[in-house]
């Protein structure tokens, strides 16, 4: 009951934060004009509260993350939860982007040519709102049969291995989306490379976070103790399949880069190969589990 009260309270605070931010963005967008030499103290105060509001929403993101990890469903629905976990982490990271965007609007690009930043803020805010509402519902509707990931970590249950690979599969597919997006968005090459780096990092962070924690947890064990014999067999077969399937891609990237046939820099091939291999490996392990 206690966690429901905390959940309700944090959800209401976050909703108030969203409402405040929407109003704040609309207001500031209309009053921050090129003819204004610098923002008034009232606008600066308003802006500071926007940051505070984002901080509260960030706290609720962390709370949702904790609660979700505490009660992963022990059924097929775990796929949905894993997908939500990835998107939740991305939403949390993009909260920091909101702060950067606000900073750019207010300081680095004082009111000139900032329509793109405003649009991104609105899109991100709707994205955060969606994530928070879904998170609230998921916490309210705890699965009947659930597994505490923190307990599973202590007792070496297979749920950790399964979740890690599901997240790997989702991050790999997200990486593909990042790759395609950075190719299709019309930008000068140097911006395009930066965009690829940002998108790829965002897509990979959830998986990197999970696998880093996994290595940290197993730091005192020998590699042969990391997995049990079936997990080792699954990982071995998945690695073999990944190697076979990704060989043509690696050969194409080597030849085309050498002969300059496809105008893609090596960073694009690296991102494509990484996400491709991550997807194939994780999907194979998950399928075999």
């Amino acid at each position: 009951m206690k966690h429901k009260k905390i959940n309700n309270s944090l959800f209401l605070i976050s909703l108030a934060g969203f409402l405040y931010n929407f109003i704040g963005y609309f207001y500031l967008r209309s009053v921050l004009v090129p003819s204004l030499p610098k923002p008034t103290s009232q606008m600066i105060t308003l802006g500071n509260f926007l940051i505070f509001s984002l901080f509260c929403i960030g706290i609720y993101h962390l709370y949702i993350l904790y609660q979700i990890l505490k009660s992963l469903p022990s059924s097929e629905k775990i796929w949905l939860q894993s997908a939500y976990l990835v998107i939740l982490i991305l939403s949390g990271i993009t909260l920091l982007s909101d702060v950067t965007l606000l900073s750019e609007i207010g300081k680095e690009y004082p009111f000139w040519n900032v329509t793109g930043q405003w649009n991104m803020l609105f899109v991100f805010t709707i994205f955060h709102l969606f994530i928070v509402v879904v998170g609230f519902i998921l916490i309210q509707k705890k699965p009947i049969s659930s597994i505490n990931l923190f307990e599973a970590l202590k007792s070496d249950q297979d749920i950790w291995f399964l979740t890690l690979n599901q997240i790997g599969a989702i991050c790999g597919l997200l990486g593909f989306v990042a790759f395609i997006l950075s190719l299709t968005i019309q930008l000068p090459d140097r911006f395009r490379d930066a965009l690829l780096l940002i998108f790829s990092t965002l897509a990979a962070i959830p998986w990197i976070a999970f696998i880093t924690f996994w290595f940290f947890k197993n730091r005192k064990k020998t590699p042969s103790q990391w997995l049990d014999e079936k997990q080792t067999q699954d990982a071995t077969i998945a690695a073999f399949i990944t190697l076979i399937i990704s060989m043509p891609l690696i050969m194409i990237s080597t030849f085309t880069t050498g002969a300059n046939l496809i105008p893609l820099s090596s960073s694009y091939w690296l991102a494509l190969t990484f996400f491709f291999q991550l997807s194939i490996f994780s999907i194979t392990v998950t399928f075999r589990s």
């Binding site: 249950q157 297979d158 291995f161 049990d228 014999e229 079936k230 997990q231 067999q233």
Partner: protein, 76 residues
């Protein structure tokens, strides 16, 4: 899969031992026990011996070949 087993039956005969308990006793994950029971995974000799030790049986009492390969099939 050619290898059958009586693990599920033996678990229930041993105070309805759960897959998780058996997994913890022999140092593997629950999913591995599930896969062995379902015949999706053939355990190593060491693991088969550990399972036999838990139930205080011989390996042949627990595992059997589903097809006759000219050897002694022990399916019951």
């Amino acid at each position: 899969m050619e290898l059958g087993n009586h693990i599920r039956k033996l678990r229930f005969e041993n105070d309805e031992m759960s897959q998780q308990t058996l997994a913890e006793k022999i140092g593997v994950t629950r999913m591995t026990i599930y896969s062995i029971e379902k015949g999706k995974y053939v355990p190593s000799t060491v693991l088969a011996l550990k399972i036999a030790q838990v139930f205080n049986k011989s390996v042949e009492d627990i595992f059997f070949l589903n097809k006759d390969f000219g050897g002694n099939s022990n399916e019951t």
